[in-house]
Amino acid sequence: MKQLLIVAIILLSPFGFSYAQISPNLAGSGLSIDVESDYISPYSLIKASIDDYSISEQTTNIFWKIDGETKVELSNKRTIEVNTKEAGKNITLEAVVETVGGKTFTDRKIIRPVYLDVIIEPQTRVPAFYLGRALPTVDSTINLVALVNGQSSNNYIYNWSLNNVNIEGGPIRGKNEISLKVPFGGFNIVTITINDLNGNQVASRSLELASVEPEIRFYEVNPLLGIKYNQIKNSLNLIGDTTNIKAEPYYLDINTYNRPSLIEWEIDGQRSPSSSGNPYEVTLARQGGSGTSRVEFRVRSLDVILQGAESEFKVNY
């Protein structure tokens, strides 16, 4: 019985580490295969090279096998490029090095491509008509969702970190979603490592979390037809007697958008009350004659200095 158990362990041992994206080097060999990327996705091109530094004798021949088949065209290449297959389908790379002394060294790597998607959903404000995703700004909240091959699983252990500081205090089973505040500084790195319940690494990725500044865009609003999607750039020609203008903040934290410390319209330097009940809208009316007026809008949180934006345009009437 004990012998059977040992045989089973030996037979199944390759599968023990094959769930990791890249299997470890064969023990005891002076040769190793280095794979360039830590995260390997399906249908991607990866670079693999041999490291024979610890072999004392001169290398004479290098052979490569992919999935057990010798690739003649790759002979004597120290670095090769290999296309990965579909998600979860292993590729076995084998490098064989012969030396002047007639010795043969071998290393084998099993590569298992996995999709590890990290979907970032910043909780900043964009207009309802906007077809894109909101972007993160400093001190705003973002939600992150990790999916392995399109799935979330309670059988994985997720370890999230931001700028090398663990977010949840340590790995948590089934925790494929987290929320965090975007820190100051333009360069933030989120890292996620996913292990299975046996402790084998399924995949790991690091992503840059780039933040932007909030901005204001102006649009004309027709009471019946709604917002005119072409934004007002530097100036607006007032055709009729009145027009409604909406200031749409992009990427402002939702809390600041809903409860701004400061929100104001100014026309030619004079504060102008919003006429519609919506503080983000103003009605401009021709006062007779012709000329140009400067319209300014600003919205700001006084608690978080970078949560605010202002912009202006000219009205020709």
Partner: protein, 393 residues
């Protein structure tokens, strides 16, 4: 004598003024408050049936292939089979007017435009009309990500739309190809749910659930069909393509920053802005090979059939794309001057169908490309003024 003439003239003037006042009193003002409300377009109130409004041809049916169909802003449109058309099988277009929700038909054979429904759905922003012309679903202008839907049953005999507000706050919606089901998405704390609402029985079922909230959906023809989903694009965020069928989510081999895509069973065409460079790639799902298209496309400006590798796309090769594309275009900060192209994605060949600016002297920023069953024409909306256009194939 002179005094008598003066008195008679004065009396005549007074009589005329009294007559005008009496006329205005009884005929010149609204009959009731209700009348005023109808004119303002309260939802559910019905206007006068106007189906016989115009019998004169209003559309040039013999003109060039590229034609403007409306001057009104259009909220939604579809192609309807024309039973009176002969072998040419020239269809009818139904469209809903932005702002009012009034529904019109354009007979592309005769050029005639008629009002199908004068029922007002105020502040209509978007509409979906089923290919049989029986149902229409409206969404209104909103300040939030979710919009309440109004479902209308079109009665072509009376020229009215029976409206119903089911209280659905949705993100995205469409009508199934058979016109009997409303496919829509809602969000909750767990993510996005895709629903199927049978418009007749009102039975509502969840078709799929996704663990994220902000998604662009390429709906299939029915609830059971394949739907393609990806997180909303942005040049600074990575997107990934998923295939959803029978509530099973499969990751497809397409991803990148600024990611948007169009897919069918044969291929994926997708755009990315990796490293501030805009690329359009094709992944052949049969050969599992990826290739680059010679032009940069936005898949949202393309139409792809269900079982083909040919696309019709709108593309503007003269406009330099900004570093923050497609975000800047979504914000309305830039417009395109698109032309229409036929693209063979398997051979990576492009053929110019129409240089729209050369033919019309108008800037067309093309969205909502649509090819009806008849394949008589491809239709689209000009994003700049929301007018409806067609290109006869």
């Amino acid at each position: 004598m002179k005094q008598q003439i003066l008195i008679i003239s004065g009396a005549i003037v007074i009589l005329i003024l009294v007559a005008v006042w009496v006329y205005l009193l009884f005929f010149g003002t609204p009959k009731s408050v209700q009348d005023v409300l109808v004119k303002l377009g309260t939802v559910g109130e019905e206007e006068v049936n106007n189906t016989e409004e115009n019998k004169e041809p209003t559309i040039n049916t013999t003109g060039p292939n590229l034609r403007q169909l409306t001057t009104k802003s259009v909220a939604g449109f579809t192609e309807i089979n024309n039973p009176d058309s002969g072998a040419a099988n020239i269809p009818i277009i139904y469209y809903a007017e932005k702002g009012t929700g009034h529904v019109f038909s354009i007979n592309l054979e005769t050029g005639e435009e008629n009002k199908i429904s004068g029922t007002t759905v105020a502040e209509t922003n978007h509409a979906e009309i089923d290919p049989n012309g029986d149902w229409i679903v409206f969404s209104k202008h909103t300040n939030t990500k979710n919009t309440n839907l109004t479902i209308g049953a079109l009665d072509k005999e009376t020229g009215e739309t029976a409206l119903e507000e089911p209280g659905l706050a949705v993100n995205s919606f469409t009508l199934s190809q058979d016109g009997q089901n409303l496919l829509y998405t809602t969000t909750d704390s767990n993510g996005l749910n895709g629903h199927n609402l049978n418009l007749t029985t009102k039975k509502d079922t969840i078709v799929f659930s996704l663990p994220f909230h902000e998604a662009t959906i390429q709906w299939g023809n029915s609830a059971e069909d394949t739907h393609y989903v990806y997180p909303k694009p942005s040049y600074l965020l990575e997107g990934y393509l998923y295939k959803v069928k029978n509530n099973k989510i499969d990751r497809l081999p397409a991803s990148g920053f600024g990611f948007s895509a169009l897919a069918n069973d044969k291929m994926i065409i997708y755009s990315t802005t990796n490293n501030r460079e805009n690329n359009t790639s094709v992944f052949n799902l049969e050969t599992l090979e990826k290739s680059e298209l010679p032009i940069t496309l936005l898949p949202e400006k393309c139409i792809l059939g269900t079982n083909t590798t040919s696309l019709i796309c709108a593309e503007d090769s003269l406009t330099t794309l900004p570093f923050n594309f497609p975000d800047e275009w979504y914000k309305g900060g830039m417009n395109f001057k698109d032309s229409l192209w036929l693209i063979d994605a398997s051979e990576l060949k492009t053929t110019l169908l129409a240089d729209t600016f050369k033919q019309t002297s108008r800037e067309l920023d093309i969205v909502d490309l649509y090819l009806g069953d008849s394949e008589y024409a491809v239709y689209f909306i000009n994003k700049i003024d929301n007018t409806l256009w067609m290109y006869e194939l």
